[in-house]
């Protein structure tokens, strides 16, 4: 059976980030390309952070979902041909992050010069920007730690990178 790119993309929406299970790999921007050659499907992926232990799981989850839908003639590549950036996270993905309690990364257009970009992250609980950066490193490589001076809650942000 011949599949279209759109078919494959909609199947891959099922695959979630294992550490942030509310966002799909498609919305996270780690699926960088789908190539269809007759019956053969190639999915290209790029890592968020190079030391991220979740990447191998993401790759095997993609393989599993393809197999589940009867697509067995496939190649899944994880490489650095496209450099991942948090700007690749979709609008839908950013909303999902916020709902999950993670402040979405601000758009940066590759202009991150100092930690100011993290200094006033918008609190996902009360939307205030009266917040303080506690640390640029959080419980996973992609998160930073913040405190909201308005509602008093501690929260995490998905780092712009």
């Amino acid at each position: 059976m011949i599949h279209t790119k759109e078919d494959i993309l909609s199947l891959l929406k099922e695959v979630k980030d294992p550490e942030i299970p509310v966002i799909s790999l498609v919305d996270l921007g780690v699926i960088t390309g789908i190539e269809i050659d007759k019956e053969h499907v190639t999915v290209n992926m790029t890592p968020t952070f190079i030391g991220c232990p979740a990447m191998d799981y993401m790759k095997s989850d993609v393989v599993e979902v393809l197999n589940k839908h009867g697509i067995t003639d496939h190649t899944v590549n994880l490489n650095l041909k496209t450099t991942w950036s948090s700007d690749l996270i979709s609008t839908e993905g950013k909303q999902a992050l916020k709902k999950f309690g993670l402040a979405p990364p601000p758009v940066h257009n590759n202009m991150i010069e100092d930690l100011d970009i993290l200094e006033h992250a918008e609190c996902p609980n009360c939307d205030s920007t009266e917040t303080t950066l506690k640390s640029p490193f959080g419980p996973t490589l992609c998160r930073s730690l913040h405190h909201c001076n308005n509602c008093g809650e501690a929260f995490e942000s998905f780092k712009p990178i």
Binding site: I50, G51, C52, L80, T83, D114, I161
Partner: protein, 251 residues
Amino acid sequence: MTEEALKDLLYKIADDQLILGHRNSEWTGMGPLLEEDIAFSSMAQDKVGQSLAFYTLLQELGEQEPDIVAFTRNAEQFHNCQLVELPSGEYDFSLIRHFLFDHSELIRFQMLAECPVEEVAQVARKLKGEVKYHVMHANTWVKQLASANDEANTRMQKSLDYALPYALGIFEASKFENDFIEAGIYPGEKAIETKWKENIALVLEEAGLKLPNWSEIKPVYGGRYGKHTKHLQPLLTEMSEVFNVDPTADW
């Protein structure tokens, strides 16, 4: 440029990252405050992951697989600079080392991002974004601690003075230096060193720390050619302890 030259470059980058990554991990559970415990642990994870990316490139060039390369070599087969193998010491030293090393690493990756060897450029483009966070972290804490009180400033200055000769060892020339420059791989160690001196001076001045006259500092060289301090072998022995229990185990 020969493959031998490229391997020389990749080995020193990978070995720096693996060894500093291991040293950073020694702060896990020991950090002076929770956020710093997490920060050094995260940077350890980044660095070890980054070293894997370079060991993987080396494997593609015909070297042994990454685990073998990382866990079975002896100290004299490592090409890291001596700065990264020094014991973690007190927090002030670990912080200063992280500051001095990561500033050099960021410049290195910014330069290598333009490398004509596409596989190397791809990794460098990826890593410069990650290492930027390490640099920003170091800058924040160096400024914060050095301007905290007299004792903090004195300790930071002492660690800086101790670390600088080793830090200059980061830029020990490779025997392939001219090949890299001629092939446009990157502008060479001297170029990184010059830019590094400018960049760290800006932060150190703001922090109220003094840089001595560079001409009075004697760089500690040797690491790039396998000459190491007595501290590297015990680190390697500890790092490979689990691997050596059963080198054929499938993880």
